[in-house]
């Protein structure tokens, strides 16, 4: 797995204080961080880019305090997930005082290819999940972290993450049932499966 493979070489935070090394650290994780933020933010690419930049900025600030208890990747993705949570709280707060959503400008989707309708459906289905379910589903099934890694990133117990995953999968199977097509015999749900 990508995180596991990078872990060994990434566990040297003291070497990263220098600017160019931090730049390499950020460069190596930028695409993946953007993908994770995009998925946790209902497909809003512009906001995802802002959030990723904030996360890198916070990581740079907090790097001196990194104690090495977790891997550098887990530590960074925890910062990123918190930044996403902060952004969502801020969006919710703005929603309280927002003008008529019909008047608000539509979110710009810079992606010119693919199936925008399908993306929108997946995004809507994910938005219907609770925050915990969405985070667990995205980390484990879309980002392919193990349940233990996801639990570490989210700062939750493994059992809690499994429970969120179970509920998220159940809801998404219903919501996106047509994407699954006919289920062959013996190809049932595997929501308790750990990727480890």
């Amino acid at each position: 797995m990508e995180i596991a493979a990078e872990r060994a070489k990434a566990d040297a935070p003291s070497l990263m204080i220098r600017a160019e090394e931090f730049a390499r650290f950020a460069e190596a994780r930028r695409e993946r961080a953007l993908r994770l933020a995009f998925r946790l933010l209902a497909g809003d690419q512009a906001t995802a880019e802002d959030v990723v930049q904030n996360a890198f900025f916070r990581a740079h600030r907090a790097l001196a305090g990194f104690r090495g208890d977790a891997s550098l990747d887990t530590w960074f993705y925890r910062i990123l997930v918190r930044e996403v949570q902060r952004q969502r709280r801020w969006q919710a707060l703005r929603g309280w005082f927002a003008v008529d959503p019909e008047l608000a400008p539509p979110a710009v989707d810079p992606r010119p290819v693919g199936d925008p309708g399908l993306r929108k459906r997946i995004s809507t289905a994910l938005e219907k999940l609770s925050a915990g379910q969405r985070e667990a589903f995205v980390l484990v099934h879309l980002e392919q972290l193990t349940i233990s890694e996801a639990a570490e990133v989210l700062g939750k117990a493994v059992g809690t993450v499994k429970s969120h995953l179970h509920r998220a999968l159940a809801a998404l199977r219903v919501e996106l049932a047509d994407l699954r097509g006919p289920t062959p015999i013996g190809d049932g749900p595997k929501d308790g499966e750990d990727h480890e």
Binding site: A19, F22, A23, A26, E27, R30, E31, L34, R35, F38, R39, G43, Q45, A48, E49, Q53, F56, F57, H60, R61, P110, R111, P112, G114, D115, L118, R119, I122, S123, L126, H141, L142, L176, L179, R180, G181, P182, T183, P184, D187, G188, P189, K190
Partner: protein
């Protein structure tokens, strides 16, 4: 479609557009600028704050006390003299009464008595 295939479809369909080289460069530049701005702020703000703190401490230590110090009026030398009146024993001071201040005459007397007891 199997569960794995279904999840793979979700993964493939629900991902951002990769950043173009120009966009990635802009991202890096913006991040570098933020980090540099913060470093610059720290370079000036931290020494300024530290200097201000040291100056405030020095001022606090050096500033003369303007409030009057309360004195226990019951312990003035006049009252103490009521218990030990050096003049009362002036004749026993064997000439030291000439140069000792009044407050010390009583002490000298006590010391002399102590020597005599031994």
């Amino acid at each position: 479609m199997s569960e794995d295939r279904w999840l793979e479809t979700l993964r493939d369909e629900f991902q951002p557009e990769p950043m173009s080289p120009q966009r990635a460069a802009g991202f890096r530049r913006a991040l570098d600028e933020r980090i540099e701005r913060r470093a610059g702020a720290r370079r000036f703000a931290l020494p300024a704050l530290a200097s201000a703190a040291v100056a405030a401490l020095a001022l606090w230590v050096a500033w003369p006390v303007t409030a009057p110090i309360e004195v226990d009026a019951s312990a003035t030398s006049a009252e103490l003299d009521e218990y030990v009146d050096p003049d009362a024993f002036a004749s026993e001071l064997a000439g030291r009464g000439d140069y000792l201040p009044a407050d010390y005459k009583g002490l000298a007397l006590l010391l002399d008595d102590d020597t005599a007891d031994r």
